[in-house]
């Protein structure tokens, strides 16, 4: 492509580029339609044929819709999942933990998936908290739960960073108080006793004396933290019989600073730097033999890149499915054309040009294809919505799969390709003998 066109193209807004791609993809279908039907008015007859064989036509439309819906749903869902997981990790700029697996730590700290990980000691935490340009260094502690909701210990500053202002109530201010995630079914003022562990193996008696009251509700974050109950990290340490991070004379303190010698250990420190560039310096500083520092976003990007290959395979499968269904539909159309071959023969007997008969058959096929594609778009959208809601419900990662340009491009390409292929049954219909069809 000459540079001038490339420059012009790159100067266009992304939305304009996508709209132009859509038009270009649809253009073959539009041009074929204009060329085939030029000078004729086949729609009344097409309507008649559509109604006469409505159940068969509906089956064809449904087949096309399923194949298109599958393609649209897969691509929209995959993107929604990718965006959802990225959004859930947005507030986690930098995580510092003991050396190990970044992915395991990512899953534990961001997506609150239970796992056994080594702890950072007080000295390590102290170095992180006192490092230059650190705005926030929040230790976390987990391992308890209440009715399926993980109970996570952290600092008030991190809760504010995570969700902004509370939607209700106030921040926890001492052990025995908690802030509930947006999806936790506990109102402000409710009391509960956390269980040790999670799932079916949770011990409900282990923390019998640790009655905790909900003092506030977080705003929704679109992350698994919405389903968590956040308590002071000190409270988690205390109920497990550990020191609470503060010297005895400051035992009532909630949040930093922590005393290294009274710091029981944390699986990870969630760090926010005062400036973006500082994150890189901190990452470098804490990437050592004993500690690792990573950007959750970068780990996710690597994961998504790995999933990209799977995505391509899935996309290919969706396209292959569509091509197979289309081939089936077009074969079916050839058979279906035989059903109304008598009517086509009548048109020929009345003096209709062959191109008109061709236009009727092609328009009929094009209407089925267009209806199937539109229905498939709606079906893909609905299925994506349902699957997204289910994934969100199960993982607490807010997945919002919505239709976007790639889906519209996919459908436009599909429509253009299939209406082009529909020229074939139209062409075959012209080879039918008129008199035997008239007498059939």
């Amino acid at each position: 492509m000459p540079d001038i066109f490339l420059d012009l193209w790159q100067d266009l807004a992304p939305g304009t580029q996508d709209a132009l791609i859509l038009v270009l993809l649809l253009l073959p279908a539009i041009l074929i339609g204009l060329f085939v039907t030029a000078g004729y008015r086949p729609l009344a007859l097409v309507r008649s044929l559509l109604w006469r064989y409505r159940w068969t036509n509906l089956m064809f439309v449904a087949l096309i819709a399923v194949s298109v819906g599958l393609g649209v749903g897969l691509t929209a869902q995959e993107r929604g999942l990718r965006q959802g997981t990225a959004r859930a990790a947005e507030k986690f700029d930098l995580i510092v933990s003991a050396s190990g697996s970044e992915i395991t730590m990512l899953f534990a700290a961001v997506y609150l998936q239970p796992s056994d990980v080594p702890l950072l000691d007080g000295a390590a935490y102290d170095r992180i908290a006192k490092a230059d340009n650190v705005q926030l260094a929040a230790p976390i502690a987990f391992g308890d739960s209440y009715e399926g909701a993980p109970v996570v210990g952290t600092t008030p500053q991190f809760v504010e960073h995570l969700s902004g202002a509370l939607t209700e109530g106030r921040m926890f201010a001492r052990s025995g108080e908690a802030v509930a995630g947006a999806s936790v079914d506990l109102p402000v003022g409710a009391e509960f006793v956390p269980a040790h562990g999670s799932g079916e193996g949770a011990d409900h008696e282990a923390h019998a004396g640790a009655k905790t009251r909900i003092t506030g509700k977080m705003a929704a974050t679109g992350s698994p933290w919405d389903k968590a109950i956040l308590v002071p990290v000190e409270a988690v340490w205390e109920v497990h019989g550990l020191s609470n991070g503060h010297a005895p004379e400051r035992a009532e303190q909630i949040g930093p600073p922590f005393d290294p010698e009274y710091f029981p250990g944390t699986p990870a420190v969630l760090v926010r730097a005062e400036a973006l560039w500082a994150n890189y310096a901190l990452k470098s500083e804490f990437t050592t033999d004993k500690t690792m520092a990573f950007f959750p976003g970068a780990v996710l990007a690597r994961l998504h890149s790995l999933m990209g290959d799977i995505r391509q395979v899935m996309s290919l499968m969706a396209v292959v499915t569509q091509v197979l269904v289309t081939a089936g539909v077009l074969t079916g159309l050839v058979v279906l054309v035989r059903l109304f071959s008598r009517r086509l023969a009548l048109l020929r007997a009345l003096g209709a040009p062959r191109r008109f008969v061709f236009a009727v058959v092609w328009s009929y096929a094009a209407v089925l294809i267009a209806a199937g594609a539109l229905l498939g778009l709606a079906a893909g959208f609905a299925a994506s919505g349902i699957i997204s809601a289910e994934i969100s419900r199960r993982t607490d990662i807010l997945v919002q799969a919505s239709l976007s340009w790639p889906e519209f491009h996919l459908i436009a390409g599909f429509v253009s390709l299939t209406v082009f292929l529909a020229l074939l049954p139209a062409l075959l219909s012209l080879n039918r003998p008129v008199i035997p069809d008239l007498r059939s």
Binding site: A44, S48, G351, A352, P353, R354, I435, L438
Partner: protein, 226 residues
Amino acid sequence: MAGLSLDVSGLSVTGSGGRVLLQPASFQVRAGEAVGILGPSGAGKSTLLYALAGLQPKVTGVINWGGQDIACLSDAERARFRRNHVGMVFQDFLLFEELTALGNAALTTAFSPRKDLAPIRSRAAALLERLGLPHSKRNVDSFSGGERQRVAIARALANDPDIILADEPTASLDRAAADRLIGDLITLARSEGKTLIAVSHDRHLLDRMDRSLQVADGQLVEPSHA
């Protein structure tokens, strides 16, 4: 349009595998004349009619309609000839059931030039009215057999052809409906000066024609003037 004369000379039709469907035949029809074609089933009556319409693919001889030999025309030219000069009526109506009476009668507007649309539609509406079918906006699936065939006649005449070719037009009708249809068909053809050729077993129809041709075993055996 007034009717066209027909001059058929040495017309023969072969079918698949070279089987002779119609032996060489010669006859003339005057412009505006009404001619019946009779004969036993399978004798070749419809083959002759479809050959006259330019629909038979393997035809030799001359089919001269008003000075134009359609036997030597291309497929597209024969289609144009039918479009401009021929109206056809079939045994079982061959209507689009999901269209209105007017939609069927003016069916050719779907492929006619734009300038012809209004004349064809108004003529179709007038013909339906004249044939006793005032409810032209009703779908024909609610019509009786007789009414359907009258819609088919309106369709055949809507583009004001010179020739009407009818293949067993009364065969699917009861006696009363058939008699009414015969009256309508003959009256319309005569009043507008159309050349009418009808294949039929129906004596009532053949008796109303100017003359009849008899076909037996693929041969025109008894060309006779009434």
